[in-house]
């Protein structure tokens, strides 16, 4: 029960930070996506099958708070999590020294694909494909670059905080199982 509440609290805090804290410090198009960084960190730290439900919940909450069609973020987060889980289990285990670079690669790819995904599902795209998607991509390319920079700076904080939290959760789990 405690684990469920802690993880729900983390998701709640991430969404709150995204909507009410980050926009004050970063202009609208350049703010890093804390929820995305949370998903990446979770997939690397915890086994995919144990964290899938929480990724789905993060996506649903994100869609509801940000006034998007419910399921939009869920689909992206789940595909991203599967991809990262696939790559991290193979490369991070075999090449521990390259771990830092792999993480940076995950963050960079995730931010780029998330930017493209957002532009893709934007309503302009549905109304007018020919001009809208590519024009918007060209207009937003600098914003995506800045998002990558800010995300890479914030990711270590997000990752290590979550790693500590998950360590504590697994410690309590073991204590309960032994008891």
């Amino acid at each position: 029960m405690q684990n469920i509440l802690i993880r729900l609290g983390v998701i709640f805090l991430a969404v709150l930070t995204q909507i009410s804290f980050l926009p004050v410090f970063f202009s609208a198009n350049k703010a890093p996506n804390i929820i995305l960084l949370l998903v990446i960190s979770w997939v690397v730290i915890v086994e995919f099958k144990n964290i899938l439900i929480w990724i789905v919940i993060s996506g649903i909450l994100s869609d509801l708070i940000f006034f998007r069609s419910v399921g939009t973020s869920v689909i992206f987060f789940v595909i991203l999590a599967y991809g990262i889980s696939f790559l991290s289990r193979r490369f991070l285990v075999e090449n521990k020294n390259w771990g830092f670079l792999m993480m940076a690669f995950f963050v960079l790819s995730a931010v780029i694909f998330h930017g493209l995904f957002n532009i893709f599902i934007n309503s302009q795209f549905i109304e007018n494909f020919r001009g809208s998607f590519w024009t918007e991509l060209i207009l937003r390319r600098n914003d995506i670059v800045m998002q990558i920079v800010y995300s890479l700076l914030i990711f270590p904080l997000c990752y290590f905080s979550l790693a500590r939290l998950e360590k504590r959760i697994s410690f309590y789990d073991k204590k309960i199982n032994l008891g």
Binding site: L16, P23, V24, L52, F67, S69, I79, N118
Partner: protein, 269 residues
């Protein structure tokens, strides 16, 4: 074998994508509206606290970094204040003369709006749909479609969704935002719409109309979605429309949408 396959990661991912893909395709807003309402009810006090806290941190950071230029800024502000005091005195005189003339010519008084002031407590951090969340909702008499202004007469958007204690304001830069407008002084008519969530365009203007850089664009009052005379922005650039049938003008907004703090909702006019 089937049981083995359904236990795999790929199957679980495919199942989630299928279910939520269907939800996105069908987009059953009505099912999730009550959930959203409850969620916003829970989030509201935290959003307000977090936003005010972040503003305090931002202002402290801003103050510390601007200490060096405070002396110069202070001197400039004193001079500007004196200039404004003089202008104010002149305007007071013009105002009383205006009131007297209106009375003599039996003109109706200038419109006064029924305003509900609200603080911004959340923003679209992805910058695609361009909206803000304010801390007033249906409990304060806010309804969908009400125009939202700042500084007594600059329109920034309109109410798109309302909840008990908060509301979503769609900004003018939102690609789905459309408002009837005219150029102040020349009465050149057109519509103002958001472009790619980044800017505002004055569109559907006849080729025969003349627009100059620096002209002010205001709401026309046509359609009833906003009163006449609210400032939208100034013309920055003119160009022909994509189909070459009309002309367009890029508008430079009068406010920075990312720095909105206090807004006013026009409840009636």
């Amino acid at each position: 074998m089937f049981r083995k396959f359904t236990a795999t990661k790929l199957f679980k991912v495919a199942a989630v994508i299928a279910v939520f893909g269907l939800l996105v395709f069908l987009n059953p807003r009505k099912i999730f509206d009550p959930v959203q309402m409850v969620l916003f009810g829970i989030y509201y006090p935290f959003e307000k606290t977090f936003y005010l806290l972040s503003l305090k941190v931002f202002e402290t950071k801003d103050f510390v970094s601007s200490i060096g230029s405070l002396k110069k800024d202070n001197k400039d502000l004193i001079m500007e204040n004196q200039k404004l005091l003089a202008e104010n005195a002149l305007f007071r005189d013009v105002k009383s003369e205006n009131a007297l003339l209106r009375d003599q010519l039996k003109l109706t008084p200038k419109q006064k709006f029924n305003l509900e002031y609200a603080f911004v407590i959340g923003q679209d951090s992805y910058g695609l749909s361009n909206w803000v969340v304010i801390d007033k909702g249906t409990s304060s008499g806010i309804k969908n479609g009400m125009p939202v202004i700042v500084s007594d007469g600059i329109i920034i958007g309109k109410i798109e969704e309302t909840y008990s204690k908060s509301s979503k304001v769609g900004l003018l830069t939102n690609s789905q935002s459309v408002i009837n407008a005219v150029v102040s002084g020349t009465e050149t008519k057109g519509i103002v719409r958001g472009e790619y969530g980044l800017g505002i365009v004055f569109d559907m203007v006849l080729q025969t109309e003349v627009m100059k850089i620096g002209d002010e664009v205001i709401t026309s009052g046509i359609g009833g979605n906003a009163p006449r005379g609210l400032l939208i922005g100034k013309i920055q650039e003119t160009r022909p429309s994509e189909d070459r049938l009309f002309q367009q003008a890029v508008i430079s907004p009068s406010v920075k949408f990312s720095e909105l703090r206090l807004v006013a909702v026009i409840k009636s006019y």
